[in-house]
């Protein structure tokens, strides 16, 4: 496995080998699926949306619907306005969503299609809506594409004149399982919130024997409008929710707190205290007990985590959250890597490492790839990998146990159902990590060293 990867590191600026990110449009598509009765639409060649639907389907094990402007060579030369017009008519005729969320691609961006004016010129059926965002594939990554689409919904649909007693929450690029956990935390804290987007019930739908193209789920258009009048908003995920937070502030003047994903103890504590400050209610007793149970597990098992070196890789917001959690468990984060080109990642992670006096011997890098991560590991190995599916190649090549977390997880089932956020998410990660480390010990140890008691 990966036998051609040498130990010697050659500086690269031209070739990306084994990417640790993908392109903006797929993130936009995912975000749009979290809006009620919304059909995401890719303005470009049909290959893009075919790849994106495939990736999302493989991650969620659920249908991921989206349409395409199906550019041909002619459209690429003369512009895609006619294709969009035809698409919109056909989509409302055949699939009848309430809203179409258009995102651009490198193709339509390179030829300079002006989506804003295309959309203004559309003749839409009564009550139907089309929104858009710009997601050229040669900028950012799937994470920023996600943020662009959420911001797009806000720019088009949030209304300042709405007044709401709720708060707004941008959950960031997380799984339906995280959204469910978020709802539970909000409910326990007595906070009523509008969450945008909300892919739960859309991308973790139940098996009933009846397929629904638009499942009952997703943020409603009424809720998006009301976001403009919320008393305050929380934007979770420093990168994924940055654009939505800016959009809500600039369009509707809503004050928004941009915070890290509530992954790990301290981040969850901070998140709950923020909710407490907003609602004026104390932290729920149930959450205190839950926190206690998590800490109980962490302390009971701490000897097995102690100084185990770990490489964490994936999207910036996830890796930032998981780094905190890893440090709290007593692991030694060694390599922290994301493919997304965002230097804020490095600053954030280094700050966290600094707080634990754990900067020495670490490598923190944005805009990197699996190939470089593998080379680091070849030079100085780690005991554990935490990250996304393609990491399994390195896990196999170097015989390192791996815990799957983040996006995408293509080769296992169930991950999208479970949270990484909150005390529950931390408890799950603690358990998965412990299982991976101890399974490895049991597998590798001599027969006489195998015990059934701890």
């Amino acid at each position: 496995m990966l036998d051609q990867t040498p130990k010697e590191i050659v500086a690269r600026s031209g070739i990306c080998i084994n990417p640790l990110k993908t392109c903006q449009p797929v993130g936009a598509l995912y975000a749009a699926l979290g809006v009620s009765r919304c059909l995401p639409h890719s303005h470009g060649s049909q290959g893009c949306v075919s790849y994106h639907r495939t990736l999302l389907t493989r991650h969620f094990k659920e249908p991921a619907v989206a349409s395409s402007s199906s550019f041909t060579e002619g459209a690429s030369v003369f512009g895609g306005g006619a294709n969009l017009k035809q698409s919109v008519k056909n989509i409302f005729d055949v699939y009848n969503p309430d809203i179409i969320a258009v995102h651009t691609t490198c193709l339509s961006e390179t030829i300079g299609d002006d989506l804003g004016s295309f959309i203004q010129e559309l003749d839409l059926p009564e009550g139907k809506i089309v929104v858009h965002c710009n997601t050229p594939s040669y900028v950012g990554s799937h994470v920023t594409g996600f943020g662009q689409m959420v911001a797009g919904f806000v720019k088009y649909l949030a209304k300042k004149e709405e007044k709401s007693d709720q708060i707004g929450v941008f959950p960031g690029f997380v799984n339906p399982g995280d959204i469910r956990e978020l709802r539970r935390l909000l409910a326990l804290m007595g906070v009523s919130a509008i969450i945008l987007p909300d892919p739960s019930d859309v991308l973790d739908g139940p098996m009933t024997g009846a397929y629904q193209m638009f499942p009952e789920g997703g943020t409603s258009l009424r809720e998006i409008a009301a976001l403009g009048g919320v008393k305050r908003a929380l934007a979770l995920g420093l990168l994924a929710s940055k654009e939505p937070a800016l959009a809500l502030k600039s369009k509707c003047g809503v004050e928004t707190d941009l915070c890290p994903q509530p992954m790990g103890v301290a981040n969850t504590d901070a998140f709950l205290m923020r909710l407490s400050a907003i609602s004026g209610q104390p932290i729920a007793r149930e959450l205190e007990l839950e926190r206690g149970r998590l800490l109980d597990l962490m302390l009971d098992a701490n000897q097995y985590y102690y100084q185990k070196k770990v490489a964490i890789f994936g999207d910036p917001d996830t890796v930032i959250g998981l780094t905190t959690m890893a440090l709290e468990l007593g692991l030694t984060p060694k390599y922290l890597a994301t493919g997304t080109p965002w230097e804020g990642f490095v600053t954030e992670v280094k700050t966290i490492l600094g707080q634990y006096d754990a900067l020495e011997g670490t490598r923190v890098k944005a805009g990197t790839d699996f190939f470089e991560l593998h080379q680091w590991i070849k030079n100085e190995p780690v005991d554990l990998l935490i990250g996304t599916s393609y990491g399994k190649q390195i896990a196999k090549a170097e015989d390192i146990p791996m815990v799957r977390a983040g996006f995408p997880i293509l080769d296992r089932y169930g991950h999208a159902h479970h949270p990484l956020i909150g005390y529950e998410g931390a408890r799950r990660l603690a358990e998965l990590t412990l299982g991976a480390l101890m399974d490895r010990y049991d597998r590798d140890c001599a027969d006489e060293d195998l015990d059934v008691v701890l």
Binding site: Q46, H52, T57, T72, Y138
Partner: protein, 520 residues
């Protein structure tokens, strides 16, 4: 109301006009015409991919001795990284690049100021790290739009490093589906790779396996059978394949064509240039395998091969018969729908028939009329604005042209074993079956509702649509981490996989007992 009227009745006038000739009911004994290889309707959720997907994703990507670089923003390279399950083992030099994804990861300045410099830099870095002997470059949409000359870069690389470097202008917007990319890849292989190595001797009874991508190990199972009979496999296009092998492929005695759509251009060009006859084969399905092996033995006409062929068929069949019989007992009487790529929707009907499963609907994602109606319609296929843009490479007889057969024998084999013929999908189907080209999401839902197949064979984008509706779906692009399905052993794997899907205990638990009682 029949399936076609029900579907078309829901379309607006424009979609109706575009779709009406892509759906037909099979009338046995009639020559039927279907529309294919035309533009997808914007907004209708097609399953089709793009030109890049056909070139890099399907044909070029599996070459294991080659660093295949995607020149473009990151997505295209990422999505085509290890996602087709074409297996490969390291080549003679110990190289296996298909585990790697190489992308120039173009950023905004590269789009504004041109990406050639970055591409050259990328290749310099690849040479420094891997020192490969072969590099291929595949373009994505923006590369064509901004006018990067990837062919000039490839020429420069060959001069600088003395390696083979082939560029493919397979921008996603070209053509109407993956099919354009297949053609572009075929042209590139023909122009730059096939016929470039005349060294060494190949031995007797040499064959190339065309259009076999070794998904789930299919190619290996097929090769095992061929070797057991006594054939030498020179090159496989392109599953577990290598440029080194393909360079020598012009010296083989015959080309076997498995996936017709993606590779028929190479078969035809090798016929013209090198005199190599081609034979359409199908190693999916017990009767189909035996027929293909017998046709191949007939081609060579060697009594030893003919005898050995019968021995191998008998041995292999005997070994799998108990399992096949068991799965047949579980599956017989069921119905299936198939919507896959180039030839699979045809091939798997043979295998399903072995298990007593009837095909009620079949369609291709990106086929042309000849894949449906048979190759004799090729002269009647009109070029349109989209197909005109794909180069039709015309080759001349090469100095190494070698006719394996006498003209008389060639004529005889054309009639007896269908040499260089392909009858298409429609003729293989029973009366009353449906054929749908470029089946879209809406039509898939309607198909499930109206035709109620027991199993749907398609890709992952459809899989959970069908399963949510209570219909088992097996992926025939990637085999759901299973396979091989080719050959005799593959048939057993397939029977097992379909059986486990249909009889999964959880199907019976879907409706809660309290609702069952209420419904009853």
């Amino acid at each position: 109301m029949d399936f076609k009227s029900a579907v078309l009745g829901r379309y607006n006038a424009r979609i109706y006009k575009s779709r009406k000739d892509h759906i037909l009911e099979v009338k046995a004994g009639e020559d039927q015409k279907i529309a294919a290889n035309t533009r997808a309707v914007p907004g209708l959720m097609t399953n089709r991919g793009c030109c890049y997907a056909g070139c890099k994703g399907v044909v070029v990507g599996p070459l294991k001795d080659t660093c295949v670089i995607t020149h473009g923003p990151i997505g295209c390279g990422f999505y085509s990284w290890g996602t087709r399950r074409n297996k490969a083992r390291p080549d003679a030099d110990g190289n296996n690049y298909i585990q790697y994804c190489f992308s120039t990861d173009m950023q905004e300045p590269d789009i504004v100021f041109g990406g050639e410099k970055k591409l050259k830099k990328a290749i310099d870095e690849i040479m420094a790290i891997f020192k490969p002997k072969r590099i291929m470059i595949c373009s994505t949409c923006p590369v064509g739009l901004i006018g990067d000359d990837i062919h000039a870069v490839a020429n420069q690389v060959e001069k600088d490093y003395g390696v083979t470097c082939v560029a493919f202008s397979c921008e996603g917007y070209k053509g109407v589906s993956q099919s354009a990319g297949h053609h572009i890849a075929n042209n590139g292989l023909m122009r730059r790779v096939i016929g470039t190595d005349d060294s060494g001797s190949l031995g007797q009874h040499t064959i190339n396996l065309l259009g076999e991508y070794n998904i789930g190990g299919d190619g290996w199972e097929t090769e095992r059978l061929l070797r057991a009979i006594g054939y030498q496999v020179v090159a496989v296009f392109t599953g577990d394949g290598s440029v080194a092998d393909i360079a020598r492929s012009h010296r083989a005695d015959i080309n076997l064509v498995q996936c017709h759509r993606s590779i028929n251009y190479v078969a035809e060009m090798m016929k013209t240039a090198f005199g190599i006859n081609w034979l359409k084969v199908n190693f999916i399905g017990l009767k189909a395998i035996a027929q293909s092996l017998r046709d191949l033995a007939t081609f060579f006409g060697d009594p030893v091969l003919i005898e050995r062929t019968e021995e191998v068929i008998a041995e292999e069949l005997a070994a799998v018969t108990p399992d096949v019989e068991y799965y047949r007992s579980r599956l017989s009487g069921r119905t299936a729908a198939l919507f896959v790529g180039g030839s699979r929707s045809h091939h798997y009907q043979d295998l399903l028939a072995d298990f007593g499963v009837e095909t009620v609907l079949a369609g291709y994602e990106f086929a042309h009329r000849d894949d449906y109606e048979g190759r004799e319609v090729i002269p009647d296929i009109k070029e349109d604005a989209d197909s005109k843009n794909i180069e039709n490479l015309v080759v001349e007889p090469d100095r190494r042209y070698r006719a394996f057969l006498t003209p008389e024998r060639y004529q005889e084999l054309k009639e007896t074993i269908g040499l260089e013929e392909y009858a298409g999908l429609i003729r293989g189907m029973a009366n009353g079956g449906w054929v749908v080209d470029d089946l879209n999401h809406f039509e898939t839902e309607e198909m499930i509702r109206l035709l109620k197949p027991d199993v749907f064979f398609s890709g992952v984008k459809d899989k959970y649509v069908a399963q949510k509706a209570g219909v088992v779906c097996r992926q025939l692009h990637s085999y759901d981490y299973s396979g091989p399905y080719s050959g005799y052993r593959g048939a057993v794997n397939f029977g097992r996989d379909v059986t486990m899907g249909l009889f999964a205990p959880a199907w019976k638990l879907v409706t809660p007992p309290w609702l069952e009682a209420k419904n009853a």
